[in-house]
Every structure is written in structure tokens, then in C-alpha cells.
Amino acid sequence: MSDGLVNMTQRRGFNLKGGGQIVGVLIAFVVICVVASLVAPQFLTSYNMTIISRDLAFIGIVAIAQGMLLLLGDIDVSIGAIAGLCGIVCTKLLVDAHLDPALAISAGLAVGAIAGAINGTIITMFNLNSLVVTIGMLSVYSGLNLWITKGRTIVGLPKEVTVLGGGKLMGVPVPVYIMAGAFLMILFLTTKTVYGRRLYAVGNSREAAKIIGIHEQRVRIVAYAIAGALAGLAGMLLCFRLVSAQASMGQSWLLPSIAAPVIGGIATTGGIGTIWGALLGAAIIAVIGNVIVLGGVDVYLQQVVTGAIVVIAVALDAITRKMGRG
């Protein structure tokens, strides 16, 4: 009985709005930025900031999408392929069908939501392992991308949309605003809404969620659909930025989409962490990627470094958790 009281007073300082972990991640982010500015003088230039923020816009959106799924204890490794599919469909509609941009973008979002919902439905209906199912679906969606494009690059996007990918507003790239909007929406969804509470509940304990009357399958399918739509958003923005669409788009997003939330303290087992963590994790990845380039390190080594950071972050998380208990 009394141990409850002791525990709580000890933890009080660490419980502000979803865990003190986020403070740790924030400190890590600041330290990395300080080190970066010392090592590479160009780091703090406004030109470089533009580059970082644009990278962050894309990684950030997929990280938020994946972060939501990880909160449920789910994962979707086909997110990059869904992004590519949405970008390709949207580009095709704009270039070949000359569809109104608003309609084409809506169609792209719908494709993403449907692709995600298909993943979620297969996983929850037959109670399958989400990793295995989405590895299969990764191949399905990538194959579709190749089939639609026939391996060729689609060009000829109208100016109205390319400004969304390449334009700037008050010196800040437009995709950054879009990412910020998506972030605020998902933050609100996960922290303030009924759906968000159910999401965390299912992530904490599917059985307990069922017992209090939550339709856990529904909650999970909706999350897959939202994640798919967000991936679609990122995929379309990338097309607008590149002024073209091709089958391989989004393939490189798999690692950062999982790494960012994990670095930001979202546990892959579900129920722990916040969307803030996904954003901060994405920021850390974007900065590190940038520093590697500035430092003149071989670009191909970037993958080695990002991969190593994920592994270190997971290990550190496990160690601090163990110490916290002992």
C-alpha cells in the first residue's frame, strides 16, 4: 500500500504529459545540434536549415504515421511503398487525366487510406503478425508501382502542385508547413480525442481494451488507414518536389519511419511514448544525415550511421528502463 505513495513522489517530476523520456530526447537533440554547429560551421546557415527542414518534412510525416502504429503495438513496413503508390496515382491523374489538383490529391490520400486499411483488415481479421503481413504487402505495393509506371519516370506535373513540394513561404519550404499541420492533427488525435484514448488503451493491453468494450480491431484498422493516408501525403509531396514520379520513390523511408519513433521513445511493444517523440526522433535523424554530408563523409555511409543509431537508441532505452526498475 505505502509503496504506491513512495513510487509516485519519486516519479512525479518525470510524468509531465506522457513521460520524462521526451525531455531526454530533447536534450539529445540540442546536444547533437550544438556539436554539429561546432564541427561544421555551415550547419547554422539559413541555406542549410532549409535543407534540413525539407528533409525533416518528409521523414517527419512517415515517422508520425509509423509512430501511431507503434503506439498500438503494430507496424507497417509497406508505408514507403504506399507513399510511392499514392504519388504515382496522383501524378498520373494530373498528367494524363488533367484532373483538378485538389481532386487528384484527395484521390491520392484515399488510395493511401485504402491501402493502409487493407493491411489493417488482413492483420486484424485473421490475427496475423503485422510485420510479416506488411512485408508481403510491401512487395505487392512496390510491384503495383512498377506495373503502373512500367519502370519509367512520369513527368509533366503542373505548376500549381510543384509549388507545394518545392516552393517556400516566408523563407520556409512549403512541405514543412504541411508536415507541421499533419503533426498537430495527429498530436490532437492521439492526446485529446476519444479515439486517441482507445488507441493508447489497445496499445497497452488488447485484452483489457476488449473487456471495457473497445472494438480493438476497428481502432487498429483506422490507425492503419490514417498511417496509409499520411504516407500518401508524403509520397505526393515528394513527387511535387521532384516534379516527377517513379516506382522507387519512398523506398528509403522504411528505416527512418521506424527509427524516428523508436529514438523518440515510442516502444515497439505499444502503449508507451508520444507523437512528440516521433517528430523529435525524425529531427535527430535529419540533423545527423545532414552533418554526415557537411562533414564530407561518404553519402553511402549515412545508412550505416542511421542504422547504428537506431540500435544504440533501442539498447539505451532498454538499459535506462531496467535501471529505473532496479
Binding site: M1, S2, D3, G4, L5, N7, M8, T9, R11, R12, N15, K192, T193, V194, Y195, G196, R197, R198, Y200, A201, N204, S205, E207, A208, A209, K210, I211, I212, G213, I214, H215, G271, I272
Partner: protein, 498 residues
Amino acid sequence: MSLLEARGITKHFPGVIALDAVDLRFERGEVHCIVGENGAGKSTLVKVLTGIYRPDEGDLHYDGETPPAIGYVPQELNLFDHMTVAENMFLPLENGVLFRRKELEEAAQPFLDDLKMTSAPQDLVRDISVAEKQLLQIARALASRRSDILILDEPTASLTATEIERLFAIVEELQARGTAIVFITHRLDEVMRLHSVVSVLRNGCVVGNSDGKEVSEAWIVSKMTGKEMDLSTLYRPRTSRGETVFRVEGLSGEGFEEISFELHAGEVLGFAGLVGAGRSEVLQTLFGMRNPTAGQAWFDGEPWVFNKPARAISKGVMYLSEERKAHGIFPHMSVRKNVGVGLLRDVARLGVVSSEREAEATARIIGDYRVKTAWSETKIMNLSGGNQQKVLIGRGLMANPRVMVFDEPTRGIDVNAKDEIYRLMQQVAEDKKIAVVLISSEIEELLKCSNRVLSLYDGRINAEIVAEELSEERLLSSIINTGGASDATAANREDAHV
């Protein structure tokens, strides 16, 4: 001197004495039955004998140079389904480089023959029958240790009458060969059948030992019960019960059959029975967590639709799981969010949750049910078991339920908190006229709290005991099914397993 002798074995756990100066002797070629209620100390004793626990006091003596080899066959099946019979017998295998399948299968065969098993060494375990699996566990215990002592923990739980006979024949053969058998069981008919030495455990003490005399079922029951139970404070609702809320007829499903009963507003209806008797399954079926195979139910006179928990909750039926940690709390969420997530209709508008309303509801629960927590933002997993339980009960009551099912509500909860939970159940039945169902393995709890007790045995109701007839002896006899009801259920068991 005996093959193995336990002298003065005492084992403490925080807050309880699991074993209190236990003296027992195990002889070659003897079947020794150990009986006792849930929590009497049987499993702790087994763990001390097999060396899993170290006793705090007392020690084990043996007559030879080396301690006797002890084979242990656990109650639940503990096999590798996708591996062969032979592999299961000899895992983890001796160190070496190559795995010689043929040799292993040849070595397994004599043990299978000994137990008259029909499976072949190369059969996959997932393809053999439950009874064969049970026998395989025995074969494994014999093969791996060449056991001098074989401990069988409730070995007949999943066997049919014919299979039990086969098991007994094997036990007798092993006995004739000089193996000491320790037989742990709840079933007194089996104890009688085995003509064995009987030791009765109660609250960690050996309260009875047959010492070579023939004993009767009545003697065993009298030893298992006792006079020390403190029934001075009762928590039975004192107000008269109200209208029928649930009427259940002929309900069958996985683990139970032909269950019929009525549940009234304002009463506490106890469900007694051994672990695995089907109590939780019956209520979980009503609640929508499992599917019925037959039978009907009426709620307020209307036919009850067996659906999902969400529907049962919308009708005012709540279920508190016995697995509080796994199926009750959301461990990494704050107390406030744990409360809020069960009351989303009340704390949210247009899909947006109001933290203030959540906090208000939480504060009310913390105040009303005296939950000990410094603030509502702490993760619920940092609360003690009793306080977690009070939060869950409080949350359930806030939704103004008609029926509340408490499944083992005091498991893992300390003594003081237990009384508070009993008082709560009484209050909600008396003041709010809620129909309370109490599923419990503790006889004392059922006696203290229930207006009426239904006893389940092997998935069927074998007794209904009203308050005036409630006594420890009566309840225990029903739970272990001695006396009048036993013939009927024995016949039923045969049907159930065919």
C-alpha cells in the same frame, strides 16, 4: 529410514507462511496422496521437494548416498507441440555435435511400451491425444531421471474415466517396482481408489495423516475444513433481493455444460469451484468474450444477445477480470486515463476528451474508494494491487451498471484491502441494487460475501447453496464433489470427453 523425509519444512512469502513446519515421509513402493484446498501449500511443497524453492527452515533427508531422483509431472501440459514424442522425451539432449534421430527413437520406445502408450516415437506431439500427452509427460519424467520418486500434480484433470483407469494401472505398476509416487489431487474418489497414504494440507500445515490406517472421505473432508475460519464479520447484503436480472437456461460452451441459474438485483451470487471448473467461462460467455454452443439467457425478461463485450456493457453488464495485470489495467497509462478510457461517453464531447472531466471522475474515485495514490497522473502500474483494483471497481460503478462480475477480485491483494473490497461489493448490492457475481476460489471469501453460492464441478452446476445452508464443510464438499452429486458428474465426465 525413508527414501525421502521432509523435516520441519517452513517457507515464508511476504505476508504469508506457505509451509509451516511440515513433516512428511515418502517410502519406496508407496503412493502418497496429498490433498488440500487451493492455497493450502501443495504447490509450494512440490517446489521445495523438487528443489525449485529453498526452505527457510527444515531440511530434506534421504537414506542413500545421493539424493533420490525426483521426476515431476506438472498439472498443465508442458510439451513442444511441433516436435516428436521422442524429442520431447529427451530434450534438452546431451551435449554433442550430431543429432541421432534413430538412437533417440529407439531409446524412447521402451518407455512408451511401459506406459502402454499408442503413439510412436516419431509422431508429432500436436497429433496425439490429450491423454497420450499426459502420459508422455510421465514418460518424460521417468526417462530423464530414472526417477525414484514421481510427483504427479493433478494428473487426471483432462482424462476420461477409462484413461484414468489406465493411469492408475501404471501407477500401481510403478509402485510395484519400488517407485515412490506422490499424487496431488482434489478428487477424493481417486484417493480412495489408490488405497494410499493420505496427508492433508491446510494453511501450510499437515493437519492429518492416515499413517497406514484406511481413512474415509468424511475423515478427509473434516481435516480439510477447520474451525479457525473467522466468520465473525459477514459482508452479505442484508436487504432483500430484487427482481430477476439474468435468467440463464441450459447454457453450454467450451468448458461448461447445461448451466441454468437466475441472478437477482441486490444479491451477491457466489460461483465456487476448482480452477478449471468453468466458472469464469460461464460469465465470460454471458459477457460476450466467448461463444456459447447451446442455451439461452434473458436479461430483464428480454432475450439476451450473445455478442461482444461492448454490447454487454451498453446493457449495463460489467466484468472485472481475474487477470488484473494482463486484462484489467492499462499499465503505462496514468490513473486518470485509465479511468477516462472506461467512461469515454461521460468525459468526452464530440469525440474530444476533456481532461478536466477525467480528472474530476478520477478524484471522485480516489476519494470515494480511498485509493492510495499521491496524484492521478501517476502510471497505474505503480499502484499496489488493492489500489489498482479499487480504481477498476470505481470506474465500473461510475457507469451505473446493473450487473457486476467480480472474478477473483482479491487475488494478490493484502488482507486489509480485501475487507474493503468485500464491503464495496456489499454496498453496491445493498444501496445500488446491483446484481453482483463473485467468482472465487477462496471458501472464506464466498462464505463471507455471498447470499447464495452455485458450485461448479467439471463444467456443471453440482450444487446450489443458500445462505442458511452455507457452511465451510458443505461448500468444500460441493467444490470437490463428494457425496450425492459425484455419481451424476462422473457419468457426465465420460460423456464430456468422448
